[in-house]
């Protein structure tokens, strides 16, 4: 029966491995433990977590020690005649009361921390976060900056089903095209909502996790202490690409943040000017195809795939009726502008020229050779409602 002793020692090994790993854990980006994070609350959450880990390990350790002792000392070979007792009121009271005391000890700091975490008043700025299948949209309520933030890991890097595994970067699946930029030292209030299913905005370094629920706004807050780049994910199952909508926050000192806002606003004005210009001009087939491929790979390939072959519930564009029949050009544009079923609407995110380019690309790439050339003007007309 030394086997039993072996499993017990194996178990002790496991537990000590766990304890050891906690001690050895690096303060940031540990692969073993929570991160202390970069806000006061995340640090407090981390401290409370460590406290409860130690207490719980101690409790479990005591129980295991008692079992181990009983298993060795009171095995039949060591202890042939069993005792007859079957209850002890004193003991039973003791092991009812002691857990209550331990729990009360744990509950006290948890209550204080919770009250602080839920106090969203007196915020310096508000950011609206909208969860969408499958990306995030951020809107700064104070400066009217608004953009979508999508996974930037290319689909051929994560979809290894047909080809050789591709080298994956350090931030694989945790990188986005447009980061959420926030100032340090300010109390930032997040307003969360969703335009389809429930998502959950989780930033481990801030100890912030809040559901984005369609039709309702939730609020939560943070105050970042340290400039840096922080990475999180969507935590609530939200459909096929739930694992592919990461969150990246870049925290900047106030001055740099202000600069960023200005740049962003200037960029927006410039982009609008360029878009108007582009929408007015007549594009060549080559320019449309080049632009279209760029837009397609960034925004469409995640679902419809690089080669237009589709993926599961996402329809193929290669050979699809809408993309090859010449009387369906307007319908094709409308789907991109207004969305359809699972497909989000791109009417606001993409310029008319970009939409025209991507439609042209989809109608001529991958053997769809329709020779159709769609000009931005047609998109503008359709958007205007005729």
């Amino acid at each position: 029966m030394s086997l039993l002793r072996k499993v017990m020692s194996g178990f002790v090994l496991f537990v000590s491995l766990f304890i050891g790993s906690l001690c050895a854990a690096e303060p940031e980006y540990s692969t073993l433990n929570l991160r202390p994070g970069v806000t006061e609350n995340s640090q407090r959450v981390f401290d409370l977590h460590m406290e409860v880990v130690w207490i719980m390990l101690a409790v479990a350790g005591l129980v295991f020690a008692a079992i181990l002792f009983a298993v060795i000392r009171f095995r039949k070979s060591n202890h042939p005649t069993p005792a007859k007792f079957s209850h002890s009121t004193t003991l039973e009271i003791i092991w009812t009361v002691i857990p209550i005391l331990i729990l009360a000890y744990l509950a006290k700091p948890a209550i204080g921390l919770l009250l602080d975490m839920e106090d969203t008043t007196k915020a310096d700025m508000s950011v609206k976060v909208t969860g969408k299948q499958w990306y995030w949209e951020y809107e700064y309520l104070d400066s009217s900056v608004k953009f979508a933030s999508r996974l930037s890991t290319p689909v051929e890097v994560y979809d290894n089903r047909n080809n050789e595994p591709v080298e994956k970067g350090e931030n694989y699946l945790l990188e986005v095209d447009n980061e959420l930029v926030l100032p340090v030292g300010k109390k930032i209030r997040f307003l969360l909502t969703s335009s389809d299913v429930i998502h959950s905005w989780w930033m481990p370094d801030f100890a912030v996790k809040m559901d984005a629920i369609p039709g309702f706004v939730n609020e939560t807050w943070t105050r970042i202490d340290k400039p840096g780049v922080y990475r999180g994910v969507c935590a609530e199952l939200c459909g096929a690409l739930h694992g592919f909508m990461p969150i990246v926050v870049r925290a900047l000192p106030q001055a740099e943040y202000d600069q960023w806002v200005e740049t962003k606003l200037a960029e927006k004005a410039e982009a609008e000017r360029l878009a108007a210009e582009a929408a007015a001009k007549n594009w060549s087939m080559e320019d449309l195809m080049a632009k279209g491929k760029e837009v397609y790979d960034a925004k469409c390939a995640m679902c419809h795939q690089k080669g237009g072959e589709g993926l599961g519930a996402f329809p193929a564009l290669k050979g699809s009726k809408i993309a090859i029949e010449s009387d369906k050009i307007d319908e094709h544009i409308n789907i991109i502008v207004l969305g359809k079923n699972m497909m989000p609407k791109f009417g606001e995110e993409l310029t008319d020229a970009e939409i025209a380019a991507v439609v042209t690309y989809e109608r001529n790439a991958w053997g769809n050779d329709t020779k159709d050339v769609v000009q931005p003007a047609r998109v503008t007309e359709l958007k205007a409602g005729n």
Partner: protein, 522 residues
């Protein structure tokens, strides 16, 4: 058994009203479901072996996690416990059979249809948009407005499972209330019977809630209602409240009978009576009661008012107290006993040890501020697999080893049993322990792909899962081998320290009708 006249062949099983036949069918059904659900788990672990999508597109991966959860909860664990209840309750209370034998037959035969409906969704010709893909918790609106066509089959499947569970529960309650042997007062009932009566009441109270939730889903999907749709004045969060009002008691439905099993096996092999029988009963009852008032601890991130969060945190932490009492009582039962380590005892010990681990991570999850970090990560996955695999499944396996000689009249192969145990306990820890780490480090649930920093622990989990899965085939062999003769005949008492009517008053194998004449209980 020649003198027991009953039909043979297929009609024996189709029309049987015998509690032992029905119990066996439940157990075999649950084992088949366990293998199907386990196969899905292995597919999930294969996909998660390394970063990048290897085998499945993400939507199908979500279907796998959904079906794995539904099949294991409703197809493996719950029918296994009903099967054990069928086999054991009449023998333990000194009754000839269950009180409502025809309903017993019916409640079993519903199950294959329910699960056929669910598994039919895997046929792509019928459902081009795939099986249910919204997780076993089927949160609205992902499952209502955005659910695939197969959701309707899922809804009818859940209705059927619910009806089956309710009939099973009614049967247990009536049997225990009306058919106890003279002299067996409530406070003399074996622990397994006690835990099952309490489970049966939980089932009666929450299965209608589940049925209501899926009915509302159905009307939202097809009849224009807006229970869970904000557009018509509904609220998706209300779905979660209703679901978890069912879901949390459901968690205890899946563990209380295992508590009962451990309370039989540990005293037997310690050769000492169960410590604190009365407090065990009260602890079970209070756990059951508390399970109705803590549901929203599954929803700490939905934006509840802070007063609600505080209440649910405190109420949840209190559950640790009666649960602790049970664990301490088991340890005290072994204390100063005379312990031997046959396979059932090994599984029961592993149950106590590993369930304790699941319990302490449960206390961590109860604390709202830190739960906001743990919620929906692999830490939660580790937690509930620690209470379900070593809890419900090891409990069931322990029960099968413990009572199999009584059921078949033959001893199983002890050496193989021990190999099965060591293999399982090592594999279960390799599978689920690393999930604590990947969850804390930031890996969220229900994703087919992950960053490289989680690779090591996921590989470990996958290796463990394959060991664990294939290890259970050995269990299948041991059981079949035992049914066919095993290692010789079992004695009537089977185990040296075994107590209870089934061991003291019935021969091995137990006769077709357990107690033709009610025994006298002193």
């Amino acid at each position: 058994m020649a003198h027991d006249h009953h039909p043979t062949g297929i009609s024996r099983w189709l029309f049987t009203t015998n509690h032992k036949d029905i119990g066996s069918m439940y157990l075999w059904f649950s084992f088949i479901m366990f293998l199907i659900g386990g196969l899905m788990a292995l597919l999930i672990r294969a996909e998660l072996f390394m970063p990048g999508l290897q085998f499945f597109e993400p939507n199908f991966f979500n279907s796998l996690t959904t079906l794995h959860g539904l099949i294991m909860v409703f197809g493996a664990v719950m029918p296994a416990f009903v099967g054990l209840a069928n086999w054991l309750i009449p023998m333990q209370i000194g009754a000839p059979d269950m009180a409502l034998p025809r309903m017993n037959n019916f409640s079993f035969w519903i199950l294959p249809f329910a699960f056929s409906l669910l598994l039919l969704s895997l046929v792509p010709q019928l459902f081009p948009d795939g099986p249910p893909n919204f997780g076993w918790t089927f949160y609205a609106p992902l499952s209502t407005k955005y659910g695939p066509a197969s959701t309707d089959f899922f809804i009818f499947g859940v209705h059927l499972m619910g009806i089956s569970s309710i009939m099973g529960a009614i049967n247990v309650i009536v049997t225990v209330f009306n058919m106890r042997a003279p002299g067996m007062t409530l406070m003399k009932m074996p622990m397994f019977v006690w835990t099952w009566v309490i489970t049966a009441f939980l089932l009666i109270m929450v299965m209608p809630v589940l049925a209501g939730a899926v009915t509302m889903m159905l009307t939202d999907r097809h009849f224009g209602t807006s229970f869970f749709d904000a557009a018509g004045g509904g609220d998706p969060v209300m779905f979660q409240h209703i679901f978890w009002f069912f879901g949390h008691p459901e968690v205890y439905i899946m563990i209380l009978p295992a508590f009962g099993i451990a309370s039989h096996i540990i005293p037997t092999f310690s050769r000492k009576p169960l410590f604190g029988y009365a407090s065990m009963v009260y602890a079970t009852a209070s756990i059951a009661f508390l399970s109705f008032v803590v549901w929203a601890h599954h929803m700490f991130t939905v934006g509840m008012p802070v007063a609600g969060e505080l209440y649910f945190m405190i109420a949840t932490m209190i559950i640790a107290v009666p649960t602790g009492v049970k664990i301490f009582n088991w340890v005290a039962t072994m204390w100063k006993g005379s312990i031997t380590f046959e396979t059932p005892m090994l599984f029961a010990l592993a149950f106590v040890v590993l369930f304790t681990l699941g319990g302490v991570s449960g206390v961590m999850l109860a604390m709202t501020p830190v739960d906001k970090q743990y919620h929906d990560t692999y830490f939660v996955v580790a937690h509930f697999h620690y209470v379900l695999f070593p809890g419900a499944i090891f409990g069931t396996i322990a029960a099968v080893y413990y009572w199999l000689p009584k059921w078949t009249g033959n001893m199983y192969n002890e050496t193989l049993g021990k190999i099965h145990f060591w293999f399982s306990i090592i594999a279960v820890n390799i599978t689920f322990f690393p999930m604590h780490f990947s969850g804390l480090a930031g890996m969220q649930r229900r994703v087919p792909d992950y960053n490289m920093m989680f690779e090591g622990f996921n590989q470990l989990s996958s290796i463990g899962a394959f060991m664990l899965g294939f290890g259970q085939l050995l269990f299948l062999y041991i059981v079949i081998n035992c049914v066919k003769g095993g290692k010789g005949k079992a004695t009537d008492q089977v185990w040296e320290g075994a107590e209870g009517l089934e061991f003291t008053h019935l021969p091995s194998p137990a006769p077709y009708h357990s107690f033709e004449q009610a025994p006298e209980v002193k």
